[in-house]
């Protein structure tokens, strides 16, 4: 099978998985119908019918011109800053977590030395540090970024460390017998070997990043999705509030989908390498 063919078959697999996803959407649809009816009957201000939320969603986020991809000004004002904070915080956590995880994984004394610190850092709920972050950074984007980065750091760090330490001994021995240069060993043995674990850490962290983004913005921000949610609550605009929650859910789904695609392409070998995993060719 050529490389090209391999890509095509993995795309076909993605399409199949999506087909299965659509099939299971009927439950969601049924739930939304129940919501709609119940909300209309109850007439609660706080839980508006789905149709109202949908209208609010389109008005709030998708009322822009075609030239701005239909994204509204509100989107630019509140969602883009949130995404920037998320990207910066998550990016910093990934950069620091992967580098540090590899370092302490490769260099045993450092691993032993930093282990207690890492365990401690992992066990502190990052949300509890929010007041301190505000004192340190003030109500700035830096505070949000800091909190996101700190929360995402530990899963990436720990999983990278585990991935490096858990590298198969036969793999390491075989590499040693080939006398690879350090650079070559790092790029073609250590990094790919640890990549499934690194990926697990990054996937856990993206969910944490989203939560911390919203929480830190609910608490202290002058723009952003979290800030928008609080302000809508104060204005008693509940369809808009729900529309923001829907947008958050969609962002979560989008991030997961991105991870699924990247995993399919980069870690194809990992899924196939399990016992009797060879595809029929």
């Amino acid at each position: 099978m050529s490389d090209h063919g391999a890509k095509r078959s993995s795309l076909a697999a993605s399409a199949q998985a999506m087909g299965r996803g659509v099939q299971s959407l009927w439950l969601l649809a049924a739930l939304l119908v129940v919501w709609e009816i119940a909300a209309r009957l109850a007439g609660s201000l706080f839980v508006p019918p789905v149709s109202q939320i949908f209208v609010a969603f389109v008005d709030t986020w998708l009322s822009g011109s075609p030239s701005s991809l239909f994204l509204s000004d509100q989107f630019r004002v509140d969602v883009l800053p949130s995404l920037a904070r998320l990207g910066l915080g998550y990016g910093a956590a990934a950069a620091i977590g992967i580098s540090a995880g590899i370092l302490i994984g490769v260099w045993r004394p450092a691993g032993a030395f930093f282990n207690p610190l890492i365990r401690l850092g992992m066990s502190v709920p990052v949300t509890a540090l929010l007041p301190i972050a505000i004192v340190l950074f003030g109500i700035t984007s830096g505070m949000n970024v800091f909190l996101i980065a700190l929360g995402c750091l530990w899963p990436i760090l720990i999983n990278t460390y585990d991935g490096v330490r858990g590298l198969d001994r036969t793999v390491v021995t075989a590499a040693r017998s080939m006398r690879l240069t350090r650079r070559r060993y790092f790029l073609q043995v250590l990094l790919p070997g640890a990549s499934p674990a690194i990926f697990v850490g990054m996937r856990i962290s993206i969910g944490i990043a989203l939560v911390l983004m919203v929480i830190s913005e609910l608490y202290a921000a002058t723009a952003g999705l979290g800030f928008y949610i609080v302000s809508q609550q104060r204005l008693f605009r509940f369809p808009e509030l729900w529309a923001a929650i829907v947008l958050l859910a969609l962002l979560g789904i989008l991030f997961n989908a991105i991870f699924a695609v990247v995993e399919r392409v980069l870690l194809r070998w990992h899924r196939n390498v399990r016992p009797e995993g060879a595809e029929g060719h």
Binding site: V171, A174, R184, Q188, V189, H270
Partner: protein, 281 residues
């Protein structure tokens, strides 16, 4: 030990420094109850171009010995001399083929890139690397599988890739640790014949570690028989069977039967001796 061994591939007088000389090699592991001796004292030599097998009862430290000889484990006492030089670690000119092909080949690399890996960063031009990879894959009959990943191949094919990777560096000596222990009987026979063909074509010296007595006798110029661990050499037996060898004809000869029986009784005797001495594990 029998000093008068006939060595068909031995170079003429004057150049009688063996390719590999294992001198009083001992290996112990530290443990909580003090050092555990795995290899007591091993002496044998392999001359250029020879095919030498090492057999012994299971648990006699064959793999440990192989790792020590390949420079992949530090030795406790004695010396391993390669072309008269003391070996202190893995070196160019010595390639190792491991038992566990599914883990000694890197699943994230294609067959081609696996085989090319030990050739990298050695100042070889790109075209030279490509030619050598093709040549080694052709030698094991897998030129068509170059673009596949190891997990897309059967076990026997994977071990052929591992052999090709060993051959690609054009080693002076190939060390093989029970390379055919985890494939089925038919595949094993064809891999044995493939190895003999490659050995004859390349003139590479082979040190072949196995627990299979038939295999050792069938393949080798000499069979070194180890005792139960902590191991010593109990016999260094010349195998004067005609070459080329044949799975059926060779194994039907009286000499093959004799040698097989001889090695078998040596292995059994060493096993019995240790179990009678009541050596606790």
């Amino acid at each position: 030990m029998n000093p008068v061994t006939i060595q068909p591939h031995q170079p003429g007088p004057g150049t009688d420094t063996p390719m590999l000389a294992v001198q009083e090699l001992g290996k112990s592991y530290p443990s909580r109850k003090g050092d555990v001796l795995a290899v007591r004292s091993i002496d044998f030599a392999v001359h250029a171009g020879q095919f030498v097998s090492v057999v012994g009862p299971s648990g006699c430290g064959k793999t440990t010995l192989m790792m020590c000889i390949a420079g992949l484990l530090p030795i406790t006492t004695g010396n391993v001399m390669f072309r008269g030089e003391r070996m202190s670690g893995p070196r160019d000119g010595v390639a190792v083929v491991f038992q566990d092909y599914s883990r000694s080949l890197f699943p994230w690399l294609t067959v081609e890139k696996n085989v090319a890996l030990p050739l990298r960063d050695r100042g070889l031009p790109r075209t030279e690397i490509r030619d050598r990879v093709r040549e080694s894959l052709e030698m094991v009959g897998l030129a068509h599988a170059a673009a596949l990943h190891p997990w897309q191949l059967s076990g026997g094919m994977q071990q052929r890739v591992a052999i090709a990777r060993g051959l690609a560096v054009r080693p002076e000596m190939l060390i093989m640790d029970e390379p055919f222990a985890s494939v089925d009987a038919q595949t094993r026979a064809s891999l044995e014949d493939l190895l003999l063909k490659v050995w004859a074509e390349t003139g590479t010296t082979v040190l072949f570690v196995t627990h299979d007595i038939d295999e050792a006798v069938y393949l080798s110029d000499r069979v070194v028989v180890l005792s139960q661990g902590p191991s010593v050499v109990v016999e260094d037996l010349p195998v004067e069977l005609d070459r080329p060898r044949d799975q059926i004809a060779t194994k039907q000869t009286a000499l093959f039967g004799e040698l097989r029986e001889n090695v078998y009784s040596l292995v059994m005797a060493s096993q019995r001796r240790t179990s009678l001495s009541g050596d606790p594990h």
